[in-house]
Symmetry: none
Subunit: 224 residues, 2 copies
Amino acid sequence: MSLIYIVEDDENIREIESIALNNSGHDVCSFGCGKDFKKELAKRRPDLILLDIMLPDEDGMEILKKLRASADTRRIPVILVTAKSTELDKVKGLDIGADDYITKPFGVMELISRVRALIRRSMDSGASKSLRVGSIFLDSDRHMVYVDDEPKELTFKEYELLRCLMSNSGVAMHRDRIMELVWGTDFEGESRTLDMHIKTLRQKLGTAGSMIKTVRNVGYVLEE
Amino acid sequence: MSLIYIVEDDENIREIESIALNNSGHDVCSFGCGKDFKKELAKRRPDLILLDIMLPDEDGMEILKKLRASADTRRIPVILVTAKSTELDKVKGLDIGADDYITKPFGVMELISRVRALIRRSMDSGASKSLRVGSIFLDSDRHMVYVDDEPKELTFKEYELLRCLMSNSGVAMHRDRIMELVWGTDFEGESRTLDMHIKTLRQKLGTAGSMIKTVRNVGYVLEE
DNA sequence: CCGTCTACATGAAATTTACACAAAAATCGG
DNA sequence: CCGATTTTTGTGTAAATTTCATGTAGACGG
């Protein structure tokens, strides 16, 4: 089913949360500090994060802020867990981008239902990892791309590049931004690599290739 | 925070919605009919629209269709509100381009959370710093300019120049200042470059081109 | 076969050049 | 002082020219 990461320093609470969520049909992975959590996050991204604010090594708010700052973790639903129940903290947490908020002590049923509600919400708000723009259809599960139901063989980078363009369809993406998203943050100097892949993409997509437009001095857009 | 427009003919529901959203930290502006709404929309564009389907003067679906047809309102998130709860209507609403759908009677908490989710989603999908001056609309995301919803093909410098003028509309910008902002600090001697681009801009903008006025011995202004 | 690089071609965009034009400012005859 | 005329100065426009981002082909390493 869905994977949930718990970040909570109190061992007892951690256990209660783990068991409760496990029983309601989720995979759970719990961490006692921010460091372990981050290490695991780099390997595998969960469907939801239950985040305690008070942690031994790092403030929960800080972790949340970082999660929201990075493109690949921005969309993961986060429930903040805290002992503080003042309205101020609630506002602050939601401002940073928590999706929900629960205060200790909390009932197990409340926890479960909030988790379930949030997962459901995030599922139908954009769980379809498949993308469609015009006649181009990208199936994340099968790692396949179709143009008018005709499968197209794309290499890894081509696929990643296309996905980058499709998930930002209509938006003029800056070259640097594309490089950052598809190749990784570190990239220096000039290179025709991106153009290269754009070219092959256009070719392989056939008629739909013309949907990739170059915006001079900026980068590329995908639009119908 | 964010501005929400409500279009709803039932006074009681309107009030409930207004208060609920106001309490959750939004600016709210509500309208009893489509006409008033449109008038206000021309002046100021909201961050989200809560749109009832059944209205005295115009069908909500029609309004939505028009919103999606116009470049500068296309990206405003819309939640459809309706008493009809049949699956058919739901599909129809989402087909036209509603971002979410809520059926009466609804819980206040549900409303608030849907609004919040949608606003956040639209926020991080692109903080569109779009500009509008008179009939000219500049969409930063798409790197596109529209005059009365008609797209205009501008080159990079033309675009930058127009943006410079638009973001200082009504202010007479000194030639040197424009050069500095659009071309960069280093620029020496006389040159017809700026005039050049002003000319092509005026041409390409068509009727709206006359909004760019020259201020002798100073520079240029953009004003309605 | 895939991804990246080098090197070069190409063409759109930016700039320069050259000149026409318009609006002030200066000049001048009355 | 006044109005007309010339001069000066700043801006508009077209065409020529240069620049530079992108397109493309082929080579090289994994």
